[in-house]
């Protein structure tokens, strides 16, 4: 075993209100520069939907991540090493700016300087690349809240495996349903971006697992953009370098939560350390699809286990960090409660950002002017109120299959287990607060989920009313050592090329 520490994350999707505050916080700090206008290191997309860049999940098109080649063997889906050099002159799978959108601004000067005339002057949209007027045909969150859903939501790659009836239902006005999926770089344990970079310009920080892209080493071979299945490395067309989310490491190192975490209005984000076995990465990433989630859980180790603590210390992990790992909300959500799941485990990069899937609304039909919820009585729905207080898995409006395609590499049993737990917490808490559910039904729900009342309470507390300190357990990141390692260059600061430059990263030639 080779125990390492990783700053890891959980997003609780039930709480996301789709406000995009996180995206804006990130943009204002990191990507407000020329060439990065189109980049959203943090973006929030509507699901079902095609996302950003459009259809990023379709790896037949983009070739991101890894492919399993039989027992225990992995290869980059993009290309082998030799082909990487052969394709260096033109990467056949590179998305272009049109797969994202062409950034634009408005010609506001016109409003003030237009000559007198019969018509009101208008501010025409102009491209931020060429400066020429453009017709806006796409933008960030073009399909927000199911906008244009017959084009976007209908082409969501996760609908694979759904019957045409199910697809049609998702499109019916009364039954329409969506949720938000905020995405940042997953700081994967087996990152495709690192593996695909011919120049070796991307690395994982040994101490905390943050994946960084060195701007001085990047030579614009642009393979990382294809190699990352989440499309979380971006090409800066103005500087000719790729860039990616840095998990606000300068903030983390000084004890602050990353900007998107800190500003999150729905308080959906949790951050903490986990200890994992790096020696197991290759084996875990090469498991068959249905085993991936379980294997990744097993890769994350118990920070209370004396043997693990010893191994961790032998690897240079400090007692403070071990303490942080023990207090980590991520550890609880992912490993103890098994509620948080990796996004698209089948890409095999072992993402270290986990999602608690959103509760599924129950299927209801309009009868005599009111919603009639079949099965409302099942599993704790009440005769008395007739309210659909409980989601019923069989009656869910977003089919389990869809959720399984997103969060468990197609393994429906895993998402169903998560939902039984979320459901039990809901039933239990309703019984506690409102008291209109019979004890027997609560016991049945808890039993089905395999959790105790205490656990349900703990889950509820960390979900609904965690303090700032409980959400973000930021470990000491050995900043003194980081400084030492950089001696001679400690006064890094943000310039046009991003963090870490003392000279403006200009191209003079």
């Amino acid at each position: 075993m080779d125990i390492r520490a990783q700053v890891s994350m959980v997003f609780h999707l039930d709480k996301c209100i789709g406000c995009h505050t996180c995206s804006i916080a990130c943009k204002n700090i990191w990507t407000d520069r020329k060439g990065s206008e189109y980049m959203w290191w943090n973006n929030v997309e509507t699901k079902p939907g095609t996302g950003y860049p459009t259809q990023w999940e379709d790896q037949q098109k983009y070739r991101g991540g890894w492919e399993r080649e039989g027992e225990g063997k992995l290869s980059l889906k993009l290309q082998g090493r030799g082909r990487a050099l052969g394709n260096i002159f033109a990467n056949p799978y590179l998305p272009t700016i049109d797969d994202y959108y062409e950034p634009w601004t408005y010609d506001f000067d016109e409003l003030f300087n237009a000559p007198e005339g019969d018509d009101q002057p208008t501010a025409r949209p102009v491209s931020m690349i060429t400066g020429e007027p453009i017709d806006i045909e796409a933008g960030p969150n073009w399909d927000d809240d199911l906008g244009g859903s017959t084009i976007y939501a209908a082409n969501d790659p996760n609908l694979e495996g759904l019957s045409s009836d199910e697809r049609a239902e998702l499109n019916e006005l009364e039954r329409m349903v969506f949720f938000y999926l905020p995405r940042i770089c997953n700081h994967c344990a087996n990152p495709g971006c690192v593996a695909a970079c011919p120049a070796g310009a991307i690395h994982k920080r040994g101490e905390d697992g943050i994946v960084l892209l060195n701007q001085e080493k990047c030579r614009a071979w642009r393979m990382c953009i294809s190699g990352c299945p989440y499309k979380k490395t971006y090409y800066n067309w103005a500087t000719g370098k790729s860039e990616k989310c840095i998990l606000c490491y300068p903030r983390l190192e000084s004890g602050h939560a990353p900007a998107c975490f800190h500003s999150c209005v729905g308080r959906i984000r949790y951050l903490g350390l986990v200890l994992y076995d790096a020696a197991a990465i290759k084996d875990v990433a090469a498991r068959p699809d249905e085993e991936l989630v379980e294997a990744q859980r097993a890769m994350i180790k118990d920070p209370f286990d004396p043997e693990i603590i010893e191994l961790a210390q032998a690897n240079g992990i400090t007692p403070d960090q071990i303490k942080a790992a023990q207090d980590s909300p991520v550890y609880k959500f992912v490993k103890v409660w098994k509620l948080a799941l990796p996004l698209h485990a089948e890409f095999r990069t072992l993402p270290m950002l986990f999602y608690v899937p959103p509760m599924l609304p129950v299927l209801a039909t309009l009868k005599n002017g009111r919603y009639d919820v079949d099965g409302a009585n099942k599993n704790g729905g009440t005769e008395a109120t007739g309210l659909p207080s409980i989601s019923n898995l069989e009656q869910s409006r977003v089919p389990l299959r869809y959720m399984a395609n997103l969060f468990s590499a197609g393994n429906e049993a895993i998402v169903a287990e998560v939902y039984r737990k979320l459901n039990a917490v809901r039933v239990h808490m309703r019984q506690q607060k409102v008291g209109n559910i019979p004890e027997s039904e609560v016991a049945e729900a808890l039993g089905a989920a395999g959790i105790t009342a205490d656990e349900a309470e703990a889950i509820f507390r960390l979900t609904a009313m965690p303090t700032f300190q409980e959400r973000f357990v930021i470990p000491p990141l050995l900043r003194d050592q980081a400084f030492e390692a950089q001696l001679g260059d400690p006064f890094t600061q943000k310039r046009e090329g991003g963090f870490g430059f003392r000279a403006a990263p200009e191209r003079r030639w």
Partner: protein, 224 residues
């Protein structure tokens, strides 16, 4: 004049290329690459870039091989069929490079997105490279069997340059096109540190054997 062009310019070019190349790597590493514009325009780039790079690599490779193994090269071309097929192949590859480059130039001119990321040096370089390949093709058409007479003119001249004993007599009598091709070649070499050409020395060959995953530690030398 001839002395300057054929005995001084080559040395100057090499010195500028080496010193300039190292200096730029030392002080301007950020820009030590070819700024890819594929993200802004991909389809045309594919055809142009693939044709140009593979064409020019093959032709340039032939120049260098003949220079290094002139003996073997000469033997290889003994016999009219071989010489003939070699000439044809060389010419075809040159046309491939020329076509690709011309296409790339047109792409930069016609696509406004790509134009915005084109520096003045890029234009200079594109035109010069196109001229250089053009001269080469002109030679191949106008003065046949270059793959053979190259061995008796340019090759000994360059060998004499290596020996620090320039014998310009080998080249002074050559037609002007050939002279221009040779001088422009060295001029491009001198231009190397000031253009996107620097990317040729950053070919990431280590990718073939480095481990896929890269870890960096604050206090450990290991990259594992």
């Amino acid at each position: 004049m001839n002395t300057f062009l054929f005995a001084v310019v080559p040395y100057l070019a090499v010195v500028i290329a080496v010193v300039g190349g190292i200096a730029r790597y030392r002080w301007d590493r950020f820009s030590y690459s070819s700024q890819s514009s594929q993200f802004l325009e991909s389809r045309k780039l594919f055809w142009g870039s693939i044709a140009w790079h593979y064409g020019v690599l093959a032709v340039l490779g032939a120049h260098v091989l003949a220079l290094m193994f002139w003996d073997a090269w000469g033997k290889m071309l003994s016999g009219p069929t071989r010489l003939y097929s070699f000439e044809v192949a060389g010419l075809a590859l040159s046309w491939l490079a020329f076509g690709g480059l011309a296409f790339l130039l047109w792409r930069r001119l016609s696509d406004s997105r790509v134009r915005t990321v084109t520096s003045p040096m890029d234009w200079v370089l594109l035109v010069l490279l196109l001229g250089q390949v053009g001269l080469g093709i002109w030679m191949a058409l106008g003065y046949r069997w270059g793959s053979d007479w190259y061995l008796h003119t340019i090759v000994p001249w360059i060998h004499s340059l290596f020996a620090l004993n320039p014998k310009i007599g080998y080249v002074t009598a050559l037609p002007d096109v050939v002279k221009a091709h040779a001088v422009l070649g060295f001029f491009l070499m001198a231009l190397f540190p000031f253009t996107r050409l620097v990317h040729v020395v950053t070919v990431p060959i280590t990718y073939l054997w480095r481990p896929y995953q890269v870890y960096l530690w604050n206090r450990r030398a290991s990259r594992q």
